[in-house]
């Protein structure tokens, strides 16, 4: 399941529904990304710009790749865009596999790929105005280790 949406979602409910759909799985891994505001550099909101059609296509391709590489039973990505306040859930990745290693690896792979290949751009809203979040070279390096 791929969902690109402006609407808030309940990570716990998503996790339970995903698990319930697959009784043959022995392991489920989930990652939840959350808007954070650091005490020394507070933000009032995170604004995510998105190219929805491309995001859906790329996320679906990344998901299919993860399922094939790690023999997952299923994988899902939910990603929000629009204006989110600290504490809100930005995105969620879920993987299901017969055993834990594939579920962990699949979730890590999905996160590393979507950081660099999913068309979302974050902007932080601060007291001084808006500022674009810069891409991190660590994210490119994390993605590169999966190249083959």
């Amino acid at each position: 399941m791929i969902r690109v949406t402006e609407k808030p979602f309940d990570p716990g409910a998503e996790l339970n529904a995903f698990q319930a759909a697959h009784t043959e799985a022995g392991a489920m891994v989930s990652f939840t990304g959350i808007v954070r505001s650091r005490p020394d550099d507070p933000i009032s909101a995170l604004i995510l710009e998105c190219y929805p059609e491309l995001a859906e296509n790329e996320l679906a391709a990344i998901r299919d790749d993860a399922i094939a590489r790690f023999s997952l039973l299923d994988a899902a990505i939910i990603h929000r865009h629009g204006r989110l306040v600290p504490g809100e859930t930005i995105m969620m990745v879920l993987t299901l596999a017969p055993h834990r290693q594939a579920a962990f690896d699949g979730a890590q792979f999905l996160m590393d790929y979507l950081k660099t290949d999913a068309p979302f751009w974050k902007q932080e809203e601060t007291a001084a105005g808006l500022r674009w979040v810069e891409a991190r070279s660590e994210d490119d390096e994390a993605r590169a280790r999966w190249a083959r």
Partner: protein, 83 residues
């Protein structure tokens, strides 16, 4: 064909898209970027380090040497910061 701009590139250009009709010698996406940069000084400066950008053709990320023939929508994508 339509060319889309996102995030800080869209802000720098002060527009989200252009409708363009490139000449026949523009064959690939790389050619298209070169052609667009030659016509717009702000875009030219914004793309001074072209290697950081990804390109999409009809809503799929593709290599820069992909032909533009028949494309409906091209996008120039600054480094992404999702997740």
């Amino acid at each position: 064909m339509k060319v889309l701009y996102f995030a800080w590139l869209r802000e720098r250009l002060n527009r989200a898209s252009d409708e363009v009709s490139p000449p026949p010698e523009v064959v690939t996406l790389a050619d298209l970027v070169t052609w667009l940069r030659a016509q717009d000084e702000i875009l030219d400066h914004a793309m001074a380090n072209p290697a950081i950008f990804k390109l999409s053709r009809d809503a799929r990320i593709v290599p820069w040497d992909t032909p533009i023939d028949g494309a409906r929508e091209i996008a120039i994508l600054p480094p992404m910061t999702g997740g």
